[in-house]
């Protein structure tokens, strides 16, 4: 078993101590009660304050448990609020790339479409909001699986459902690909779900860096993979859009 991280243990002790003190605690008091050097205690409590887990009373200088700690268990991002955050950034992405844009999140191992912008060619298209797509065969799904530590385990069966001859069905192969996606920060897929379709997607994160959704473009292999690999300019536009939506998600109600 690996050794515990000492600074996290100490931070937890600081939080427990604050939780027991209805009037809050000053740094000296905290340091004494935990048997830590004052400088170390100060560093810990200031860091906790910076992430919102501790608040300092400006009048007395004493520390209390932070308000955002109370929200920790229920910091749920509403699906419709996610769409409202995404709408102003996904329209320009569709308009610049000429591709359809989808925003999705992981529900019971599948990608649920939260927002859909039509491909800007005015052909007949159907709004897919509320529809579900397989996570292992789509770019959106792979991003969501890659950044969710428990998700791959939740996919049922030894081998995964096959959709085309390109679908990754071996669990080990998928896990290896998810590792590469985590490293580079985006995912792509070519004809793994449907022949004639390809996708590029990137993660949407909340303030703390937690991946809450993914945004991606969908188009033909020829437009997205003109030389056999995902077009770099498209990848950078998808990643930039995901970052912009992340900022919007993080900035809400602040």
């Amino acid at each position: 078993m690996t050794k515990n991280v000492q600074s996290i243990e100490r931070a937890a002790a600081v939080l427990r101590s604050l939780a027991r003190a209805p009037d809050g605690q000053g740094v000296v008091e905290l340091a004494k009660s935990l048997g830590l050097p004052k400088g170390t205690t100060h560093g810990i409590v200031r860091t906790l304050q910076a992430v919102g887990f501790a608040d300092q009373d400006r009048r007395t200088g004493r520390y209390h448990l932070g308000a955002s700690l109370l929200d920790l268990g229920n910091s749920y991002l509403d699906t419709n609020e996610l769409r409202a955050c995404a709408i102003n950034w996904s329209d320009p992405l569709a308009s610049r790339t000429g591709a359809a844009v989808r925003v999705g999140r992981l529900i019971h191992g599948h990608v649920m479409i939260v927002h859909h912008v039509f491909r800007p060619d005015d052909t007949v298209q159907v709004l897919e909001v509320g529809a579900s797509m397989p996570s292992h065969a789509t770019a959106l799904g792979k991003v969501l699986l890659a950044f969710d530590p428990t998700a791959v385990g939740s996919l049922e069966g030894e081998s995964l459902p096959i959709h085309t001859h390109r679908t990754v069905v071996e669990r080990t192969e998928l896990v290896a690909e998810l590792g590469r996606i985590r490293e580079r920060g985006w995912a792509s897929e070519r004809e793994e779900y449907s022949i004639g379709e390809a996708g590029i997607a990137a993660p949407i994160r909340d303030n703390g860096g937690l991946v809450v959704a993914a945004v991606g473009i969908a188009g033909t292999p020829r437009t997205l993979f003109p030389t056999g690999v995902p077009l770099a300019s498209l990848v950078s536009q998808v990643v930039a859009t995901a970052d912009a939506i992340s900022r919007e998600v993080g900035g809400r109600r602040s």
């Binding site: 419709n80 569709a94 308009s95 859909h116 039509f118």
Partner: protein
């Protein structure tokens, strides 16, 4: 480039040849409430904001004024500013369209003249929104200003006029013009002849010398000397008309609705003005250079987004506006509950100022989810009432509704509107339709785009909701809604008028 001078902020947006957004800069201005019912803006602050945001938008795009082919202005309508021609200094603050200080003046006009004469001449019913009563009020309250207005030393303008005058040099040769869409909101313009009307000027005691020249919505009014030196000013339009143009509603029967705090539905009615028997407003949609003007009918819905805000802030049942959709989807229907948000009476097509809002059909079965549904449905049914009124006035049936504004991110609402109207509802790729309309008109004026039907090729559908409701159910629900509406009538009685708050 478009400058969208709105009620709460001013935005500058650069577009490319495909009508795609390149950069945006925005700045809010202060709202002044000197007395209950009064709303004012500082026109100097707004001009200062323009001087800041234009260079910001250029810098974001890595552009200089030399890269800008033309600038178009879209603006909050009816807001009235008077200023000194020689110094460029405004006479006090601008009186904003929402300001109701002229309510007693309007009552007096209604008693003395009646509404009908005004509607036939200028297309508008007597109301505090429009510029003429605001000008009259300002001139009545300062004898010196009235004298200077008579000699043309004090000028009148709505916001586009103020900005164009300043952009073209202000006291040093500034061009004093307005466009037909803005002039059509003053109550001073003959809606058929498109010129200032002597009888209306007389009725409101507005001297002709203070008025700007009425021009089309898209022509080169002048070349900027300030902020954008050398750039041609090619368009001006009221914001809702600009949205109609930006949504490329170029044919009779095409309509757009902007869903915000309140909502504005405009339908293109072609080259002839259609006068409404249902209290809709007849307005100029746009006029491109020398071509014939295009008219529109306008219906406004006072309470739409603000009803969701009330649900969030007044009732506290949700934390953010988008969550209303989540709550509404927790149930399958309204459970028999209807909400009529007649918070300050009912507007088009009912025009009942004594009506007040109600929630009806309550049983112990009703949950917050049903109420959330009823709130969204109130916006759909109010849209339906305006569309029905437009049909009976114009005889033109709506084939599709183009939508924009913040509430278009609500899928349940958009589907609901398609269901009750029984036509497709379409959202465009560029949500900044007001700015896009102004940019399109300016681009046409300077030849950046050769002809305007071609602009339709730039309009792309971002989403479309198809009607999916059984006709029998639609009729049943509409009948219920109408019954709920009639029950709001007559609530406020003259002696029961709530006491008015007094000035602090």
């Amino acid at each position: 480039m478009a400058i969208d001078q709105g009620t709460t902020s001013t935005r500058c947006i650069l577009f490319d040849h495909g009508g795609r957004l390149v950069s945006v800069a925005q700045r809010e201005h202060r709202q002044h409430y000197p007395r209950p019912g009064w709303v004012e803006h500082d026109a100097v602050e707004i001009w200062r904001n323009v001087r800041r945001i234009v260079p910001e938008a250029l810098a974001q795009a890595g552009a200089t004024p030399a890269d800008v082919v033309g600038v178009g202005i879209a603006n909050q309508r009816e807001t009235t500013v008077l200023w000194d021609r020689r110094t460029g200094t405004p006479v006090g603050h601008a009186v904003v369209w929402q300001d109701t200080r002229t309510d007693t003046l309007i009552e007096r006009y209604a008693e003395e003249h009646g509404h009908q004469g005004f509607v036939e001449r200028c297309g508008l019913p007597l109301a505090t929104y429009f510029s003429a009563p605001k000008i009259r009020w300002l001139l009545d309250h300062d004898k010196v200003v009235r004298e200077k207005a008579q000699t043309g030393e004090v000028l009148f303008g709505t916001m586009e006029t103020w900005l164009i005058w300043n952009l073209t040099g202000g006291p040093d040769g500034g061009v004093h013009v307005t466009d037909v869409t803005n002039a059509s909101r003053t109550m001073l313009m003959d809606i058929a002849a498109l010129s200032w009307d002597d009888e209306l000027l007389e009725a409101f005691q507005v001297p002709r010398a203070m008025l700007p020249e009425i021009r089309s919505s898209a022509e080169v009014y002048g070349v900027a000397t300030e902020v954008l030196p050398g750039v041609r000013i090619g368009a001006a339009m009221g914001d809702q008309q600009a949205a109609l143009f930006g949504q490329t509603c170029f044919g009779a029967g095409e309509a757009k609705c902007t869903y915000g705090t309140g909502s504005f539905l405009l339908m293109n009615t072609g080259e002839q003005p259609v006068f409404s028997k249902h209290g809709l407003i007849t307005t100029v949609g746009y006029r491109i250079g020398d071509s014939a003007p295009t008219y529109a009918l306008e219906g406004s819905i006072a309470v739409t987004g603000s009803l969701v805000q009330w649900f969030r802030d007044g009732l506290g049942l949700i934390d953010s506006a988008p969550e209303i959709e989540t709550l509404a989807r927790s149930v399958d229907d309204n459970g028999g509950c209807y909400i009529v948000p007649a918070f300050s009476g009912l507007f088009a097509p009912h025009w009942r100022s004594e009506a007040r809002g109600l929630m009806i059909g309550l049983t112990s079965y009703i949950t917050s989810g049903h109420i959330a549904r009823a709130i969204l449905e109130a916006t759909s049914w109010q849209t339906r009432e305006v569309v029905d009124a437009m049909f009976s006035d114009s005889g033109i049936a709506l084939r599709a509704l183009k939508v924009d504004g913040g509430m278009t991110s609500n899928n349940l609402l958009m589907q609901g509107i398609a269901d009750v109207l029984d036509v497709p509802v379409e959202r465009p790729m560029v949500s900044e339709t007001v700015s896009l309309g102004a940019a399109y008109a300016a681009g046409l004026a300077v030849g950046y785009w050769p002809e305007f039907p071609g602009l339709k090729r730039n309009w792309h559908r971002a989403a479309r909701w198809m009607p999916d409701m059984e006709p029998a159910r639609r009729e049943r629900e509409y009948a219920n809604w109408r019954r709920a509406v009639t029950r709001t009538f007559g609530w406020i009685q003259p002696e029961a008028e709530p006491p008015r708050s007094t000035a602090r």
